[in-house]
Symmetry: C2
Subunit: 400 residues, 2 copies
């Protein structure tokens, strides 16, 4: 896959923020000001670049020319100094690029609570800007990785009035994944680039909507990061008739959601120590909120996640997790299936044969669990990982 978006260039360098021999500072630049949409972590503890980014979007400057991103250090819990560092980075990049600092956004991911090594960032900036190339967006996708083992990118094309429009995205995030983003949840970073002409106000709305049905529906460990950020830039260079809520909006949104879901899926597949990627559906709920909260409780249960890892169709753990989600239910109405194999009916097990079939379903890297509460018509689903010994190893060793 060639990761090219008209009018966008990328660059990445090894600045030595935390590790040697590893890309850790990236830059995305648009040839012209691009409509900007952004969603950020809802965690009450927010990293400095998140605080600055939210403030900028609230001020109503929905355009940007560039995004600077570093891995290895989250610039979170760093106080006023952390905020000053964000502004300094914007200034450094702006000066080197010959643009306005207000046209730059930034993101950080990595360890919390340590000051950014600004000397290294200052030293690296000239080479970072000089390295901008339309072929190097892939390198930015590498530079944002932390415990991720593989690069996550996706690209889509759509035709509007005979004009080919590109939408592409990159993402990172392998732990601290339980995104809950809005304008003001893993460290999850994602940058979306398009050459479409879009209505800027509509752009923010559909980006938020698409996030809620994609990134916000994935759970690795359920820990919500201080740094989650998705920034979406649309530079308009395709020259299509403007896309908004009335014109081509539904089609564009459908493609955007498909792209987000692809990236979200890649995040779970590439999650820390993940061996299973499980779609957890709750059906037959009284309302969507209930269905969603039950699905999340099941998805976060350590006992359910370890059973996934062990390929054990231990449905009792799933029912027990659903039962502690905080909603009244009638255990006599519950049905549960692994893929299309029903193993619980009327709240009791169907038998050994069904369990054997469920166990076969679980041998695959991807399968689904469908819990029908029998109470109503609402449904929700989340994409969850298992919990493996490797997750523990990675996170017990991460900092030291």
């Amino acid at each position: 896959m060639t990761f090219l978006v008209p009018g966008f260039e990328g660059s990445a360098v090894e600045s030595g923020i935390r590790y040697r021999g590893r890309l850790d500072l990236g830059l995305i630049a648009s040839a012209v000001p691009a409509a900007l949409a952004g969603v950020f972590t809802r965690n009450e503890v927010k990293a400095a670049p998140v605080l600055v980014g939210i403030e900028r979007l609230h001020k109503g400057r929905p355009y940007a020319r560039a995004i600077v991103v570093n891995s290895g250090n989250a610039n979170a819990c760093t106080g006023p100094e952390g905020i000053a560092h964000v502004h300094e980075i914007h200034g450094l990049a702006a000066k080197e690029m010959g643009i306005n600092p207000e046209e730059i956004m930034s993101s950080s991911t990595g360890v919390i609570g340590e000051p950014l090594p600004m000397d290294r960032i200052r030293r690296a900036m000239p080479a970072l800007v000089a390295g901008l190339s339309d072929n190097a967006l892939d390198c930015v996708a590498d530079a944002i990785l932390t415990t991720d083992t593989v690069r996550k990118t996706a690209i889509r094309h759509l035709d509007i009035c005979g004009i080919d429009i590109t939408i592409a995205g990159m993402a990172k995030g392998a732990g601290m994944i339980g995104p809950n983003m809005g304008l003001p949840r893993a460290t999850m970073l994602s940058f979306i680039l398009s050459d479409a002409v879009v209505d800027p106000a509509w752009w923010q709305v559909i980006v938020e909507e698409a996030v809620s049905d994609s990134f916000n529906q994935i759970i690795i460990d359920g820990d919500t990061s201080t740094n989650d950020t998705l920034l979406a830039l649309a530079n308009g260079l395709a020259g299509n008739p403007i896309i908004n809520g009335n014109r081509h909006g539904q089609l564009f949104k459908a493609v955007l959601e498909d792209l987000f879901q692809d990236l979200a899926h890649q995040l779970v597949r590439g999650g820390e120590g993940v061996t299973k990627c499980v779609t957890i559906r709750v059906e037959g709920a009284r309302n969507r909120d209930e269905a969603d909260k039950i699905a999340r409780t099941v998805a976060k249960s350590p006992l359910v996640k370890t059973a996934f890892f062990g390929e054990d169709p231990n449905w009792g753990r799933i029912l027990a997790a659903a039962g502690r989600a905080g909603f009244p239910m009638d255990q006599r109405l519950i049905e549960l299936a692994f893929n299309d194999v029903t193993i619980v009916k009327g709240g009791i097990g169907v038998g050994k044969e069904a369990e054997e079939q469920a166990k076969e379903a679980m041998a695959a890297e991807e399968f689904s669990v469908t819990l029908d509460l029998g109470l109503g018509k609402a449904r929700a689903q989340v994409l969850a990982s298992d919990l493996s010994g490797d997750y523990v190893r990675i996170n017990a060793d991460y900092r030291s």
Copy 2:
């Protein structure tokens, strides 16, 4: 420690419910009808013996003569057949003991969703009853263990008007621990035995109160079981002046709470794969509910728990977990300490030296984390475990 309570006998046998060569069926008997208090899981999915127990307490029969308990099978999600099995067990024990089935309570712990092997229980009942001995309460404490590696018992004595009163308790539970019991969270089982003369209505009230400040404040994996049960019997054989809310109640309650906290602590120390036992305190909250929910969110965070396991004072993960608990906070006011070592002030790290001291504190099996939000005067605390590779191994292998 001699586990003797006047008027109480115990017995345990290997009935072969699930494993060979292991005590799995226990019986506690009181020489005379004993005042009964009970608290059960608040999980919406409840095991058959829990459903029967709740019904009995609601009917207002606050006396019991015996408790039958099995490990290896939870008799949960077993439908009407499971309920019938509970009644059959009560009938079998009553017949063998020559008492009324209504005087018997029961509990089960083990795998969910499989019918109890009633033939084995029927076969074992005569020997179980015949084996009753005042020296064998310890054996019951062994028979209730599942993935627990050590027996958990505690005993206290108090003097009321010159009369020596005994209060003793046994408990089990190493996984699925996040007790939330009331009259209607681990499979946690605990049986409390006393020879005190108590007011039966007051007995239920203080047992519930003592549970909320002990068992309900521990978190291993945060999964709440379908089977959690605490039953407390007071047979009155000490002959003391009756204890109630007005007379000697505060003293008795203090001793009971101390006993419960001892057992709760033993549960965490003996939790599945547990290497650290961490007191998580939240102070400076606006109200107790907020403090409690934030402490629980921190205690359940996989990233915090793996950092405990790794002995990494990764305070950023603690702040991030607190920040996603759902309460507004001001990160600039946050203070955090490991034992008495403050490592975060004003939301930012104090420095490397403090972190090194915190790391030393974490090398012990027990330490505390105190998070001060700086918002108010309310506080709460929970007792939490770490998350180790052994936890995953135990739970990925548990059923198969």
